[in-house]
């Protein structure tokens, strides 16, 4: 067989041992697992069971049997490992460096929480096992609920929602159930124009109509316009405080009074809770419903896009409506016994089981590690870091709202537009070359060329300084010749700027859809 035939024989399959896609060695694309696939290869192995090898025909009626094989990749364990290890080298993460992605609270995720989530006594428990066999888990969930209530100043909480948006929908359904119980039907929910996109989307799913109120020149809810839209048809208002501009809504008490006045409820979007831990509590501000993003405030890792957890805490009057069943400490003397209880007017389930349990466990571990004292310190340093960056970059970038911020600050790159048309997007891409993940850009929508920077408390003053200096370099570049080339950024990354338009135009959602 000649070399060329040889090549024929194997050329269909990519070389699993070639590592030019690892940035350590090169900039090639990594083949897909399907291109690494070779007929007949395998990595799997199962237990030896000693069971009779009944033929498929005796197990599955003909009409239900699949005709052909289900084709998946066929790779050796070695190639499987190399493939995903190389992919991991093509991925930025908190563990590699600072990730000041505004609104996402990309703080350091303590490794001890990974160990907690891997404990066989927690990870190996079936969710349908009856309460007597899962007392440890029930105790854990009850302890977390109590801690979250203390932190938010609420009466009780559901741990079911799997993320913030699920928490929002849960909250809106609670709102609806509450009003129904009052015999009042309402149609509108108010949100500020600075709100996160999940808010209006959740409002729609909650069966309500969105009424948007503008922000005033301070970047806060415009009281005047709020009053004009407040009426008996308003079910409630959704706010995040500090808001998405990183600014504290100082009129919150007044807002709460006004909304309650017309019988509406206040919903607190807890995405920004990190800023106020131990300082001020949503419950004390007058909120009736609060969701938290445990994957933000309580450091559970973001997993490349999830999982998260979005528990919802409520005030006394809404407790009977919470989703169920709820983990509860049962009355009785002696050592506590736990069980499941369904609130009498529960809106029903919001998760197949009990929520993202292992994420909940991580969050409780984080709360215990930091403690009441440590949590407040988190808020203090998160706010200190954000204000330091804000102050340091004032003048270098536009500061749409020139007030002290909380845990994050929204700057604008509009001042860089001249002479070379440098945009927030260019700043974001160029910053990657400086060794930092980009801030959130173009959000909130009300700020033109927005750069939303959230350093979090786990980045050191040295990292803040380096980040500030990098952003200063970029701003300086924008006005020079280098500014003209900034649209080339990022340059050292495994891929350069990605053609998003093309992706949407000719959709290739799977390997099989490739032309």
């Amino acid at each position: 067989m000649s070399p060329s035939d040889q090549k024929e024989a194997v050329v269909q399959t990519a070389a699993g041992g070639k590592a030019t896609s690892a940035p350590l060695l090169g900039r090639d694309a990594e083949p897909t697992l399907f291109e690494l696939s070779h007929p007949g290869r395998r990595a799997w192995s199962f237990r030896t069971t000693g069971l009779p090898e009944t033929p498929i025909e005796e197990l599955v009626p003909a009409e239900h049997r699949r005709s052909g094989q289900l084709p998946l990749a066929e790779v050796s364990e070695r190639d499987l490992v190399a493939h995903f290890t190389r992919l991991s080298h093509r991925q930025f993460s908190v563990d590699l460096g600072a990730y000041p992605l505004g609104s996402c609270t990309m703080k350091y995720n303590p490794k001890v929480c990974d160990a907690v989530a891997a404990l066989p006594g927690l990870a190996g428990v079936h969710p349908a096992a009856p309460a007597p066999l899962t007392q440890g888990w029930l105790a854990l969930l009850v302890e977390l609920e109590e801690a979250l209530c203390e932190i938010t100043g609420m009466a009780a909480a559901t741990l079911q929602p799997a993320a913030g948006a699920a928490g929002e929908l849960t909250g809106l359904l609670l709102m609806r159930a509450w009003h129904d119980a009052q015999g009042s039907t309402r149609h509108k929910v108010i949100i500020p124009d600075s709100a996160h996109g999940t808010n209006p989307a959740s409002v729609t799913l909650g069966g309500y109509e969105v009424v948007t109120v503008p922000s005033d020149e301070r970047g806060c809810v415009d009281m005047a316009s709020l009053r004009t839209v407040l009426d008996e048809d308003v079910a409630g208002i959704m706010l995040t405080n500090p808001n998405t501009l990183g600014l504290f809504e100082e009129d919150i008490a007044e807002i709460a009074a006004a909304v309650h006045e017309v019988g509406g409820l206040l919903y607190y979007d807890g995405a920004n809770l990190n800023a106020i831990l131990g300082v001020v509590r949503p419950g004390d501000m007058g909120f009736d419903i609060v969701h938290m993003n445990l994957h933000k405030t309580f450091a559970t890792p973001h997993g490349g896009g999830g999982p998260g957890a979005g528990p919802v805490a409520v005030s006394e009057r809404l407790v009977p409506f919470l989703p169920g069943p709820r983990p509860s400490r049962l009355e009785g003397s002696g050592s506590p016994v736990y069980g499941w209880v369904v609130p009498e007017r529960s809106i029903g389930r919001m998760h197949t089981w009990h929520g993202n349990a292992l994420v909940l466990a991580r969050a409780l571990a984080y709360i215990q590690a930091n403690g009441g004292n440590g949590l407040r310190r988190i808020a203090e340093i998160a706010v200190l870091n954000a204000n330091w960056i804000r102050q340091r970059l004032t003048g270098t970038y536009d500061v749409p709202f020139d007030r002290p911020c909380m845990h994050e600050t929204v700057l604008s790159a509009r001042n860089l537009k001249q002479p070379h048309g440098v945009r927030a997007l260019d700043v974001a891409k160029r910053l990657l070359e400086e060794g930092f993940h980009s801030p959130t850009v173009y959000f909130p929508l009300i700020v033109d060329e927005a750069l939303m920077i959230e350093p979090t408390e786990t980045e050191s003053p040295q990292t803040l300084l380096a980040l500030a200096e990098a952003l200063e370099r970029i701003a300086a570049e924008a006005s020079t010749e280098a500014g003209a080339t900034m649209s080339q950024a990022p340059r050292p990354t495994p891929v350069r700027r990605v053609d998003e338009a093309r992706a949407a135009r000719t959709l290739i959602p799977t390997f099989d859809a490739r032309p």
């Binding site: 990870a123 349908a128 053609d499």
Partner: protein, 450 residues
């Protein structure tokens, strides 16, 4: 006190002075005095890592139903499947664990490509051309599918088979309170959905969506063709809730004519974890791609023409479409999708087939063993694959309690209207169950119901 904050007191002081502040409290002057918490949080002080770990270890000790102590025969949407070291090692790489949604694709090709491969695998499993990057869990995927179906059909009426997991149906009901969808539960007859006659129905009564399980909650194989037929005649959207672990042996829902396929992806490398985080699977026909909920990764090229991946069709999503978005989902379960991609890569073509076959074999062996016990009778007779229900002479709760003392998690007590007055136990048998485990289980079972 354990702390993850790097700042020393001097550093805090110098940063404050840079800000012209005298104390950290001044950072919060914007917060009205009256609202501020005048005391410390009533939580224990911070504990060191070893103490924290010790506490959780003890909590774990208080869970008798851990699968390293009780041999697991419980299923109902959460299964004790093999999770190889390689899946744990790769999906546990910190680059996957500690990154977020790939907003900057140039430095997120790792997650993007893994998800692209995941989407391809789920598309092949479901027999439909498009799959998204994950949803929270099976139930939330079902909710999204119904939302899509109603929007696509323009009809609010949803026929939900009683063979759909009761918890899923409860969540559908919860969410219907917001969307206003009209859910009708269609009962089972001997384990299979007894669809009503659709012809002649008018107006509100005409279904816009049908939702059926394959296999269903009782483990039974449904005649999906019958559902497809109703959809053809009514213009309804067919949503199949498929058990993806069966994909290697069963006809794909796509082949059966499903418009949308949803499923619980926990079976692909994710631990039981007391119910989460799991993995919501969602696939649909090309026609519905612009109604797809959640994120979608697509292939494209970079400025140098190199192959690259990016999240696409973003115009569907909440951060752009706001109240008009197809869904409100933002954070999803990407890490579990990456986990599933690794696990399915480990299984491969032969493994996915072997997996389904082994589950079916073990299930048959176990079912025969239980039905050989006096007083234990089949719950239904419809064909099953990897899970089945039996009637027990004593309450299922009692069986479970007694078998726990023998080292087994016996299964799930049927309630929610299944047990029809009788005692029903739902038993799942995965490829991990050995003959000796099953024999031991059957023996203990016999004792428990004697």
């Amino acid at each position: 006190m354990g702390t993850y904050i790097p700042h020393t007191d001097d550093e805090v002081a110098s940063m404050l002075s840079f800000l012209g502040l005298a104390s950290v409290d001044e950072l919060f002057e914007v917060v009205p005095e009256a609202l501020r918490l005048q005391r410390g949080l009533e939580l224990a002080d911070g504990a060191g890592e070893p103490d924290v770990l010790a506490r959780f270890d003890e909590l774990g000790e208080n869970n008798r139903a851990r699968n390293d102590r009780l041999v697991c025969f419980a299923g109902g949407g959460a299964y004790d499947h093999e999770i190889p070291s390689v899946t744990k090692a790769l999906a546990g790489r910190s680059e996957f664990v500690t990154s977020y949604t790939p907003y900057q694709p140039e430095v997120a090709q790792g997650v993007l490509q893994a998800v692209f491969e995941f989407q391809t695998m789920i598309s092949r499993l479901s027999g439909l051309p498009v799959a998204n990057a994950s949803l929270y869990d099976g139930a939330s995927a079902a909710v999204e599918a119904v939302n899509l179906g109603v929007a696509a059909s323009g009809r609010q009426r949803v026929w939900v088979s009683a063979g759909i997991h009761p918890h899923w149906r409860q969540m559908l009901a919860t969410c219907a309170a917001g969307t206003g969808h009209q859910l009708s539960t269609i009962d089972l007859a001997d384990g299979q959905t007894a669809w009503p006659e659709v012809d002649g129905l008018t107006g509100d009564d005409v279904p816009g969506v049908l939702l059926v399980g394959y296999p269903n909650y009782l483990g039974c194989l449904e005649d999906v063709g019958a559902a497809r037929d109703i959809c053809d005649r009514s213009g309804a959207i067919l949503v199949v809730a498929a058990d993806p672990v069966a994909a290697g042996v069963l006809r794909s829902p796509g082949e059966w004519g499903a418009d949308v396929v949803v499923g619980e992806g926990q079976v692909f490398g994710t631990t039981l974890g007391f119910g989460g985080p799991y993995l919501g699977l969602f696939a649909c026909a090309q026609a519905h791609v612009r109604r797809l909920p959640g994120r979608l990764v697509g292939e494209t090229v970079d400025a140098d023409g190199r192959r690259a991946y990016v999240t696409t069709l973003r115009a569907r999503e909440q951060d752009i479409r706001r109240e008009k978005a197809t869904s409100n989902v933002c954070t999803n379960q990407t890490l579990m999708a990456v986990t599933a991609a690794v696990q399915l890569g480990w299984l491969g073509t032969s493994g996915i087939a072997e997996l389904g076959l082994r589950c079916a074999r073990a299930t048959k062996y176990c079912r025969d063993a239980l039905l050989a016990i006096d007083g234990v009778t089949p719950y239904v007779t419809a064909p099953v694959l990897r899970e089945f229900a039996v009637r027990t002479p004593v309450p299922a709760e009692v069986v479970i309690e007694r078998l726990a003392d023998e080292g087994f998690l016996a299964g799930i007590a049927l309630d929610d209207g299944y047990a029809d007055g009788d005692h029903g136990l739902l038993v799942a048998v995965t490829e991990r169950r050995t003959r000796s485990e099953i024999d031991g289980y059957a023996a203990a079972f016999a004792k428990a119901v004697a």
